[in-house]
Symmetry: C2
Subunit: 195 residues, 2 copies
DNA sequence: GTCTATACCGGGATAGAC
DNA sequence: GTCTATCCCGGTATAGAC
């Protein structure tokens, strides 16, 4: 509270990540840039490079945070859905949709191509944990093996991601669909896919 | 065949659109730029501006062509699916997936936000025709009204688009899924949604 | 650890020659 | 109708002062 002026001190690293989320939420990956993050924080364009060697490493940190947050959101949604494994898995699609629409940080960010060569163990551990959670929820249904769980996960995420893409691309613009309305639809669609 | 050298004559306008599709297929909207198109065609960066006032108008022409091509692909897939209206509608998801994976020109291009202010009647007519075709296929199922057809269309497109996004973002990379394999999955998922 | 200043790059777009 | 040349802008990244 004591930093009305001279804001730029304390934990710039954390602030860079937080502001990156803001930019992603507002304009997606397209408008994310180191320069824009710095500008919004009121620091020079060089300041971020004290904390991250380049753009991709900042994005990697954001990706790791997103993986962790998304995993928590999915867990919470599954628990809220009750005890039936199919209901719990279906809730993933709705949770994914809500998270991506709110933050702009979906799988296209978490698994962005430019991150493949960024060696960031924390991010990798977090994305692995996210996938583990998805496998847990998928194998809790009738599905016996990992081999068969993967296509199921892909279908669920495809539904959530598809709705979120259409939403953020403005496809629903004319028909005032609310986030919750579509999240419900995504969940129902996922439920139908599980059988 | 007589233009090995001095390629830059004939129909640059059409060539610009064709090359734009190439770039979209290779790198999506991210790598599409007037400069890149001109470079690949071996013309100066100024040449395209004789045919399109700005970037967005070129993109609009590409969008219109994509809408027309996608409509044709959807029609063909529906016809190939047989007579059952539900099968015909489900085929839309597979056709959409195939088209977007092949061309990079899905709804995120056809309905790109930056096109809203571009007054291009041909594009608008073509996107309207595309939507008309989707409504035709949707209302041919048990669905009685347009009001109820729209959510159905949204679900089908969400499935196709979701799979295509995951595919182009490299989510399927480790598991060598072929385009046809996933197109079949998308179609089956759509079939499950229709009930 | 942040600043100013700078170099470099690529894309958008225009002017004027041919 | 295409060219060369040019300008502007914004993003990435580095050097060196404080």
């Amino acid at each position: 509270m004591s930093r009305q002026r001279g804001y730029h001190h304390g934990d710039l690293r954390a602030a860079l990540i937080a502001t990156s989320f803001e930019l992603l939420a507002e304009g997606g990956l397209r408008r994310f840039s180191v320069a824009a993050v710095a500008r919004r924080l009121g620091v020079s364009s060089a300041a971020p490079y004290r904390h991250f060697p380049d753009r991709d490493h900042l994005l990697s940190a954001v990706s790791g945070a997103a993986a962790e947050d998304l995993r928590a959101a999915i867990r919470a949604a599954a628990d809220a859905a009750g005890a039936d494994p199919a209901d719990r898995l279906a809730a993933v699609a709705g949770a994914y949709f809500r998270y991506v629409v709110t933050t702009g940080a979906g799988f296209h960010v978490i698994f962005a191509a430019e991150l493949h060569r960024v060696a960031d163990e924390q991010r990798r551990a977090r994305t692995r944990a996210l996938m583990d959670t998805l496998f847990e929820l998928a194998t809790a249904t009738a599905v016996p093996s990992y081999q068969q769980a993967l296509p199921l996960i892909e279908a669920i995420i495809a539904v959530g991601h598809g709705y979120s893409s259409l939403f953020t691309d403005g496809f629903f613009a004319r028909n005032t669909r609310t986030v919750e309305e579509i999240a419900t639809r995504a969940t129902e669609a996922a439920r139908a896919l599980i059988r």
